[in-house]
Structure formats: structure tokens, C-alpha cells
Amino acid sequence: MKQDLMAAASLTGVSKSLGGKPVLRELSLSINVGEVTALLGPNGAGKSTTVSLLIGRLQPDAGEVALYGLKPNRPAARARLGVMLQAAGLPDVMTVAEMVTLQSGYYRDPRPLGETLALAGLEDLAHRPCGTLSGGQARRVQYALAVCGRPGLLVLDEPTAAMDRASARALWSTVRDAAADGAAVLITTHDLAEADTLADRVVVMDAGRIVADDTPTAIRALAGGAVVRCRSAIPTTRAAALPGVLQATSDGAELRLVTTDAAATVRRLLDADASLADLHVHDAALEDAIVNLLSRDERIAA
């Protein structure tokens, strides 16, 4: 709301049902210029539906979706949009360079082919038919197709899924550059490290609503949680019932608890297991913070 003038895209009071089931409930979200926004949430939270509405593949039941003040399926809106879809394929028999050239031709002021290929790290693959690419390489081609037209709004649906870490890092840096150049970027991801590294802003969705919308740092603080790690014989089922504990996991050797009240949890943990050793308490990572947020949201909903 604070930066309405800078919003490249916005959803306002959007509701959407699919197959009779409500997926989004009065969702409002704006994607701002010069900012990387990460959309997070469990499966079924409504992330893909939000993306589909934003790029005009679906129409809202109620509310409004606008790209640069236009309906997303208008040609003038599409001309400023670059999309990397999760489920999109590539024609096997066309080469990487042919696909990028064809896609570039859809835009009025595209990047030169060489520049796009370099951005996506595809120089060596330019003449390979798309059918011979690995999953990660195909994702890089999808990325090239999304950025070749210098879009003002870049929508990346799970961009680094199936990519190796080095490719993912290279892509992150070009996404950061795009935002620095003034693009509005929306990514959806399951990879919290990705959101933490890349995003200026994290939007957490659950059950069709936004449960948090802030910087990664603020989200971690907002969740206010801590992580307790130790060696203990206590089974996870029992640990999960301790005061403040949201999540209990064990890798066999180490018990790991996400908690809203580290002091209370540790006190009871020590009472329960005299042989407990190697106790560590530290601030929750973004992942733990989100577990905390989502479970808090569940308790409110229940």
C-alpha cells in the first residue's frame, strides 16, 4: 500500500475457487518495481493460482488483477511480462538459439541473442536441440525465454527446481541484477535458502491467504522462534508435546526442536532426560520461522 505508484502488478481483494473449492480468499498483493518478492507456503496454499491469475492464465471470481493498470491478458500488459513457468516444456527439435530468437521476436526491444544466452549461461548450448537438454539446462532456457524481452515484470515459478547449486547461484545473481535495473520480480519457491538469499520481501501464504508479508529478517523476528538441538533419548513424539514446541525432528543422533519459548522447552527437556548432552539454542532460520508462522495460523484458524 505504501508504494502504490511503484507497483508493477497488483491483486486486489481477489477470490478464486477451482473445482468448487476456494483456493484464494480476498487476497491483496502488489509486486513492486525494483524488488524481488518471494511467495512461500505449503502445497495447496494458493501460490500457483496467484501466479496464474497474475499472468492472465486464470480469471478471478472476485476482485481485480492488474499489470501496469491493465488486465493481464491484454497484449500491452503481456509485452512487459516475462514468465518462467513450472510446467512449461520446450519443443524437442528446436535448438536453444532458435527458441530464444523466436521468443525475442515477440518483444519490441529485446536483448541481443548473445546477451540473453550469456545471462542464462547458455552460450555453450546455443546449438543444442532442446530435446537433448538436462532438466536443469531446460530450466535455464526457460529463464532465457523469460528475460529476453527486458520485461518490467518477471514472474519465476520455482526457477531453480532441478538446477544444480552453481547454476542456481548464477541465476540468483542475474535476478538480483534485473531487480537492480528496475524490474519487479516475483518468485515462488520451496527453497527457503533461495528466498532468504534472493528476496527483498517474503510473502507467506497459507490456505489462500497471506499470513506474513515482510523482509526475510523481519519475518524471522516476527516468528520469534528458536531452535533447540541436543543429544537425547527422548522420542520425537514426546518431545513434540513439550511446552512451546512446534516441530520435533530427529536424525537418530540429534533431536531438533523448533519452539516459541526456548526457556520453557529447555527446562522441561532437562527434567525429562538426565542423560541429555550437547545442548544448543539458536535463533530460528527462515524455514523455522515459517513453520512457526504457519502453525500459529493454524491455531488461529482452529
Binding site: L58, L81, M94, G105, Y106
Partner: protein, 250 residues
């Protein structure tokens, strides 16, 4: 606003890319191009010992329509259904590519395949002694190529509604059904009366009758009526295709 102006040549480039892509998919091209010519050669020319030029011309009319149905139904129907399953259409649909350019590119590829199939059939017909006036040839070529259009729309409607496998099965059934019921293989006058009656509901029957008219053979009913019915069926098929496109999210 200049934003609305499309980049110059966007339609032409899309058509060229689609032609290139079809050319590199021989598993699609070879059957649709060779089958009609093979059928024509086998059933019309090879079976009877002495093919009269009249026979060669009369059967050419129907087989030319048949040659247009394959690329249209398989390229559009089965092709689009499979592209949809592979997510190839999704990216096109969210790109600043006009939907019309996408369809025009597909149609260009289908018409090109029809053209290739037709040239083989025409060659065989000429070898068998078929003789037509230049005006007749021009009309016949135009009619045969245009026969792609109604079937392309029917295929498009199928492709947007069915799975890849389902669309292949449906295209096969329609391909053979249109040929038989349309009287493209066996003249409609020789079909049982119920098949003739059903045949009137398929565009291939009316296209086949129009083609007979062009080559100067007897036509069942009025040529103008056949033309009007084909035009009407094409419009209905186009609406069906359009609603399928609008309804499908990808």
C-alpha cells in the same frame, strides 16, 4: 499508445518456425504426406487394369480432399493436445504473441503438408492420364488446400479439450469416418442410403461434391448449397475451436 504495436514480422516468424519444426518431425510428416498418395495409387490406379482418364479425374477430386484432412486433424488435433500436455502452449499463451499468429502458424504447417501430399496425388493422376483445363486445376488446387481449414478447426477444438492419446484416437476415427462417409474413397452414390444420410453431416462430403463439380463430374444436389453448407460448418467449427481455447487454462 505505441505499446499496442506488435513487432514487425511476428506472424511471419512464427509461421516460419512452425514450418521448420514440422519439417524436423518426420514421424508426423511422412504418414500424412504419403498415406493419401499411397491409397490413391493403390485403390484407384493399381487395382483396375485400365484406368480411364475420367476415372483418374473423378477419384482425384475425392482423394485430394482426403489428403487435406490428415494434416489438419493430426497436426491440429493430436498435435495441439500433445503440445498442451507437454506445456508447449502455456508459454505461448502468456507471451506477447497474438493467438491469431499461433493459429496461423499451425495452419500454415498443415496447409504445407497438404500441399506436399497433393502434389504426389496430382503427379499420379497426371501419369494415369488425368487432363484438366488450367482454370480447373487452379480451382481444384484452391479447393483442396482450403479443405484443410474446416478440419483444422475441428482438430483444434478436439486438441483443446482432449488428452494427447484421446485426441489421436478421435483424429483417427474422424479421419477414416470423414473419408468413408464423405464418399472420398467410394462415391456416395454407391454407399448404403444410411451412410449417405450420415455423410451429409460431415464437411468432407460437401467438399468432395464441390471437387467433383470443379472437375466436371456429376454432383449430387446444388454446388452452391454444398458451398454454403461447408462455409456454415467451418464457422461452427471455428466457434467450437475458439470456445475450447478460451475455456482451457493452458
Amino acid at each position: 499508445m505505441t505499446d499496442l504495436a506488435l513487432p514487425a514480422g511476428i506472424w511471419r516468424r512464427e509461421c516460419a518456425a512452425e514450418l521448420k519444426r514440422s519439417w524436423r518431425l518426420p514421424q508426423f510428416l511422412v504418414p500424412t504426406v504419403l498415406t493419401p498418395a499411397a491409397f490413391y495409387g493403390l485403390f484407384t490406379l493399381a487395382i483396375s487394369k485400365h484406368v480411364s482418364p475420367t476415372q483418374a479425374v473423378a477419384t482425384l477430386a475425392g482423394y485430394g480432399v482426403f489428403a487435406a484432412i490428415g494434416p489438419a486433424l493430426f497436426g491440429f488435433g493430436a498435435g495441439i493436445a500433445m503440445e498442451r500436455e507437454q506445456g508447449l502452449i502455456e508459454l505461448k499463451r502468456v507471451s506477447p504473441l497474438p493467438a491469431g499468429a499461433y493459429v496461423a502458424a499451425k495452419l500454415t504447417a498443415a496447409v504445407a503438408a497438404t500441399g506436399a501430399a497433393l502434389s504426389l496425388i496430382y503427379l499420379l493422376a497426371i501419369i494415369a492420364g488425368a487432363a484438366l483445363s488450367p482454370a480447373q486445376w487452379i480451382l481444384l488446387v484452391a479447393l483442396h488446400l482450403a479443405s484443410t481449414v474446416p478440419f483444422a478447426f475441428i482438430g483444434f477444438g478436439l486438441g483443446m479439450r482432449m488428452s494427447g492419446k484421446g485426441a489421436v484416437a478421435a483424429a483417427n476415427a474422424l479421419f477414416l469416418g470423414s473419408a468413408v462417409l464423405g464418399g472420398l474413397w467410394i462415391p456416395s452414390t454407391m454407399l448404403p442410403s444410411w451412410m449417405q444420410a450420415v455423410g451429409e453431416a460431415v464437411p468432407s462430403y460437401h467438399l468432395g461434391q464441390l471437387a467433383l463439380g470443379v472437375v466436371g463430374m456429376p454432383v449430387i444436389g446444388s454446388v452452391w448449397l454444398h458451398g454454403a453448407i461447408v462455409a456454415g460448418m467451418t464457422v461452427v467449427a471455428a466457434i467450437w475451436a475458439w470456445t475450447g481455447w478460451r475455456r482451457s487454462p493452458a
